[in-house]
Each structure stands twice: as C-alpha cells, then as structure tokens.
C-alpha cells in the first residue's frame, strides 16, 4: 500500500485529507509541524509527503529540505495559497516535485498522486 504523509498545522485540514486519502486506499499519516513531519518520515518512510508551505516553527521550505536530505526519492508536493505563480516557480526550484493550491481540488490531488506514484514505480 502506498504511504502518504500529510503535513499541515491545521488539525481539521489533516483530518479531512486523511479521510479522503484513506477512502482512496492510501495508508495515511499526519503531522502537525515540520519537526513532526521529519520524524515520521524517518520512521515510516512514506512514498509521498503533502507539505503545507506555511507553518509556524520549522516552515514548509525547511521541512522540504530536511525531507529531501533523508531520502531524495520521496515525492514532496507543496500546498500553497491560491495561484501564486512566483512562489510556485520558487518551490519547484527548491526541490519540490509539484505543488497544489489551497483550497484544494480533491480530484486534482488524486491525479497528481497517481501520476507521482506511477513515475516512482514505473
């Protein structure tokens, strides 16, 4: 089963995504901070991490770097606010594999995940 880690400082966002992803058949973990995320990545080795860019403490960008240090193969999809093109470009430059904007279109998220997983296994 594919493992996905959802990282967002909002509990309800994490819950929502966990509900959806579990329904879709993924094994879903959640983390409420960058530090927690890094720990869970070390322990559970998820295939993909959905990472919110704006978090207090260790922010999304730093968490991204740390996760990539642990395992470059892990797919990291950043969650950003609306259609910020400049930020998006920067995110990709920093090593994120993709990005998705809030509020999320769940069907779109599904497609992104499927493509990523296909690329990883194929």
């Amino acid at each position: 089963m594919t493992r996905i880690l959802v990282v967002d400082d909002e509990v309800e966002t994490c819950d929502l995504l966990k509900r959806y992803l579990t329904k879709k058949g993924y094994q879903t973990f959640t983390a409420l901070s960058g530090e927690d995320a890094v720990n869970i990545v070390k322990e559970e080795r998820p295939h993909i991490v959905l990472l919110d860019i704006r978090m207090p403490g260790m922010g999304g960008i730093e968490a991204l770097k740390k996760i990539k240090e642990i395992d470059r193969e892990i797919g990291v999809v950043m969650i950003t606010a609306v259609k910020e093109e400049e930020t998006a470009k920067e995110i990709l430059k920093l090593g994120a594999d993709d990005y998705i904007t809030k509020p999320m279109d769940l069907k779109y998220l599904d497609n992104v995940l499927m493509v990523k997983i296909a690329m990883m296994t194929g």
Binding site: E10, E12, T13, L16, L17, R19, Y20, K23, R54, A81, V82, K83, E84, K102, P103, M104, D105, L106, K107
Partner: protein
C-alpha cells in the same frame, strides 16, 4: 597767537629807527625798508601783519607801491604816512585799499591804535580765509566719502535686490501700515500682477475674501504680540501647493515695522510625500493581506474539502447535491477575491533590466494566440523597429500587456454579442510601438470593442472597480497595471468612445542612446 610783525617803509633813517623802537617796546616785531623796492623784496619772503609806508619816497610813488604790495600780499593792511595830505591823493590811496593814513609828524599813540586795529582786522581776515579753506577741504572730503558710501550702498542694494529677485520663491514685504513695500519677480508672476498695481498699495485691496482673514490674523498677531514673530502654514495657490512663511520685522525697541512673507512651492514634495504614504500603506497592507488571506484560505479549504467529499457520495440526494454545488461556487468566489487581493498587495519593487518592448509584445501575443484566433480577433501590429531598449521588469510588463489585451478581448466579445448593424465592423486589436519622443517609448493597444462610457472612464484604474459580472472579474487588473507602470516611472492613459473602441497608451522611460 604769534607776535605780530610790522614792516616800516621810510626813506628817512630816523623815522625808521623811531618807529622800530616804539613798536618793539610795544611788543611787536619790526622790520624796516628804505625804499619801495626794498619793501617789496622784504614782503616777498615774509608774512607781515601790517605795513607802515611813507608815500613820499624817491623812486616808486606811494600809490604804485600800494598796488604792488597788494599784488604780493592782498590782505596786508597798509597805513600810509604823509607830511602833506593831498585830498585827491588820499582818496586814490583809499581806493587802492589802504587801511588808514597818518599825517606826519606821526602821533605815535594814534599810530599805535591804528596799527592795533589793522592787525586785528588782518588777523580776522586771515582766520576767516583759513577757516573757509578748511571748510572747503572738509566738505570736499565729505562729498567724496558720501559718494563712496553711496556707491557701496547702491552696490549692496543692487546685490540684495538681485538676490531677492533671483530667488525661486515669492518674497513680499509689507510695512507697519499694511502697505506693500515690495514684491519680487516670483511673487508678481505667481499672482499675475504688475509691480505698479501693488507696490505702495494696501495689502488687502486686492485680496480674495477667503485669504483676507488668514493674512489679517497673522499680521494682527505680530502687531499685538511682541513675542510672536513667525507663523507658517501650507496653502493652495494657482493649482500648486505652497508653504507660506510669515516673519515679523521689528526695530531695536521691538516695535513692529512690518512683515516679510515667503511662499515656497512644495507641490513636488507633497506629491512625493503622498506617494510614499501610499507605498507605505500598500506595503503594510501587503504584509497584512498575506497573513489574512492565509487565515481565510485554511477554513475555506476545509469547507471545500468536506463539500467535495460529500459530492463524491454515491447515494446523495439531488437537492442535497445542488446545495453542495452551490456552496462550492460560493467558495470559488471567495477564492477569486482573495486571489485578487493577494496579487494586488504583491505590487513589489520591479526587478529592472533591459527589455526589448517589441519582443515582449510578440511573446505576450503568442501566449494569447490560440485564444484570440479561436475568437476570430484580428491582431494588427505596427511595431517601430528603431525603438530603444527600456529599463523594466519584463514579467510585470508582460502582466500589464496581458491585462490590457484581455480587457480588449472582452470588449470585442461584448460588442460582437450586441450584434452589428454596420457590416464594416472589424473585430481587431491594433498594437503600435513608437520611439519618437526623446525619453520615452510609447506602446498603444487599441480595440474596436464596446468602449467605455465617459461617466466611468475616470474610475477604470481604481482598485475593485469593474463592470463585469461578479464571477468574471475582481476589478483589480487595471489598477495593478497602473501601479506597475507608475512603478516604472511611466504613464498609462486611456481614450475611449462608446460603440467605437478603446485605446490604452503607455509611456515607458527608455535607456538613452541604446538602439535595438
């Protein structure tokens, strides 16, 4: 007073001795001469106070001698001594300016008094002469000094006048009676008045009713309050902003003598201040907005996610489904507004580099190419190849071009929808670039769309102003475009006629001297 000196002229030796002895005893200095010639010789080298002359001498006669003595020493009193006074002779002698005459044999005491008188008189005359001389010298010196000082004063006056006339601010003097003493050139120009219409006239004669009380207040304050000497405020004069300064002039005993007013043009400064205030506000709004949008987006995300999950349920009732879809649409609307706000608040400092405007236009058109072709919009280009490079942020400029082209597209579509009775209408956009102004490159984008009514055209650059239905536009596009162009130091302008079309003209400063 030095001892008076007497000259005795007589051919008889005993007379000479007698007179010399007598007058020496009286305390005078005496010199003698035995003839007219000797007398003249003696007078040449000496200053005598009086001459006693015997007119009956061999050689020169008395009258001639008198004349000659007068030639040598004009003011020397002559007392003639004669044994036989010939009345006519005496008269002639007196006419020649002889002081007195004494008959021989000389009554010494009488002679003495005459001599005393003569000396007194001659001394007075001489003193008078010397005083006049001194006075003349002093006066000449004074005049010279005065002329010098006047020259200096005039130079100083001219220098000060030149300074005041040359000042790039209005200077107005009025005296203690509120009479205008002077106005400099700048002031006369500012108020569009002639010198002769104001100088010497009362200050309030030509004042507008609105300004009268304010000025009066200042002057009254200065007059009544010895400690108040300065007031200032800003005012609007002839469409520009001025800083007005009033200074009281007082004499040594602190008495009010008048007021000097300075008016300095601060229009640019005020503009800069308001621009800076705007930029600061924007910056703080920007920071605020980023935070707030995130706060809004998180709950929106959760609402949207939950609604989406509900919509995925297979056994959902039709009316429930409609409700959830409605909620989704509303969420979409909020997202658009937040998105627009975020973009608006992100009007950052442009990242400047050399930009080829024509190339940028081509690039932007290529991005819209498919869409424009699909909608049958004709693009005409008149791009001047000789325009210089400009300094600009190419991403931001591209954004501006996009915004205007999208607006043009929408205007054309709107007009097309209305239907054209006139079969000649062409659905087109004309883009031109020109570089014939020395410091600017001009871009214009003109469409044959529906046009902008005159009552709203002044608002189109206002943020959130839009004529489009809510779900289509946030009204921020043109205000962003305006902000970007202004941030580049350029200008954006619009001309439009309803049912004819709209033309946007952009001016951007160019790099001087660089050609493509």
């Amino acid at each position: 007073m030095d001892t008076p000196k007497i000259l005795v002229v007589d051919d008889e030796e005993n007379v000479r001795i007698m007179l010399k002895t007598f007058f020496t005893r009286k305390g005078y200095r005496v010199e003698t001469a035995a003839s007219g010639d000797e007398a003249l010789k003696t007078i040449k080298g000496n200053a005598f106070d009086v001459a006693l002359v015997d007119i009956m001498m061999p050689g020169m006669d008395g009258i001639t001698l008198t004349k000659k003595i007068k030639d040598l020493s004009e003011d020397l009193p002559i007392i003639i001594m004669t044994a036989h006074p010939d009345r006519d002779y005496v008269l002639s002698a007196l006419r020649e300016g002889v002081f007195d005459f004494k008959q021989k044999p000389i009554a010494l005491e009488e002679l003495y008094y005459a001599v005393r008188e003569a000396i007194h008189k001659v001394r007075l005359i001489r003193e008078n002469k010397s005083l006049i001389e001194e006075l003349r010298d002093m006066t000449a010196n004074l005049y010279k000094l005065l002329a010098e000082k006047s020259g200096d004063l005039i130079k100083e006056k001219n220098r000060l006048e030149a300074m005041i006339e040359g000042m790039n601010e209005a200077v107005i003097f009025c005296d203690e009676n509120d009479t205008i003493v002077d106005m400099n050139k700048y002031a006369l120009n500012l108020f569009k008045v002639k010198r002769e219409d104001r100088i010497g006239k009362n200050l309030y004669l030509h004042h507008k009713k609105e300004t009268h009380p304010k000025i009066k207040h200042v002057l009254d304050t200065f007059k009544n309050n010895k400690d108040k000497n300065y007031m200032e405020w800003d005012a609007h004069i002839a469409d520009r902003w001025f800083n007005l300064r009033f200074s009281a002039v007082r004499d040594d005993s602190n008495k009010y003598q008048g007021t000097i007013a300075n008016f300095i043009d601060i229009t640019e400064k005020k503009l800069l201040q308001s621009q800076m205030a705007k930029a600061e506000k924007l910056a703080s709004i920007g920071g605020l907005t980023a935070g707030i949008t995130h706060e809004i987006l998180n709950p929106l995300n959760i609402i949207s996610g939950n609604v989406q999950m509900k919509l995925m349920e297979k056994d959902i009732r039709e009316d429930d489904r409609k409700i959830y879809e409605n909620i989704q649409r509303q969420v979409e609307r909020i997202v658009n507004i937040v998105d627009g706000l975020l973009r608006f608040s992100k009007q950052r400092e442009p990242k400047m580099e050399e930009v080829d405007v024509n190339a940028l236009i081509e690039k932007t058109l290529s991005l819209l190419d498919y869409q424009l072709k699909l909608q049958n919009i004709i693009i005409e280009k008149e791009l001047d190849k000789s325009i210089p490079l400009i300094i600009a942020d190419s991403d931001q400029l591209e954004q501006v071009l996009m915004i205007i082209l999208i607006n043009a597209r929408d205007a054309l579509n709107e007009r097309e929808l209305k239907g054209e009775s006139d079969g000649h209408w062409m659905k087109k956009i004309l883009i031109t670039t020109r570089g014939n102004m020395p410091a600017y490159v001009q871009i214009s984008i003109a469409d044959t769309g529906i046009g902008i009514p005159t009552d709203i055209i002044s608002k189109i650059f206002d943020p959130f102003f839009t004529t489009k239905p809510e779900k289509e536009g946030t009204g921020l596009g043109l205000s962003i475009a305006h902000g970007i162009i202004e941030g580049h130091g350029g200008k954006i302008d619009v001309r439009s006629e309803v049912e004819k079309g709209t033309k946007f003209t952009i001016l951007l400063p160019c790099v001087y001297g660089t050609k493509n």
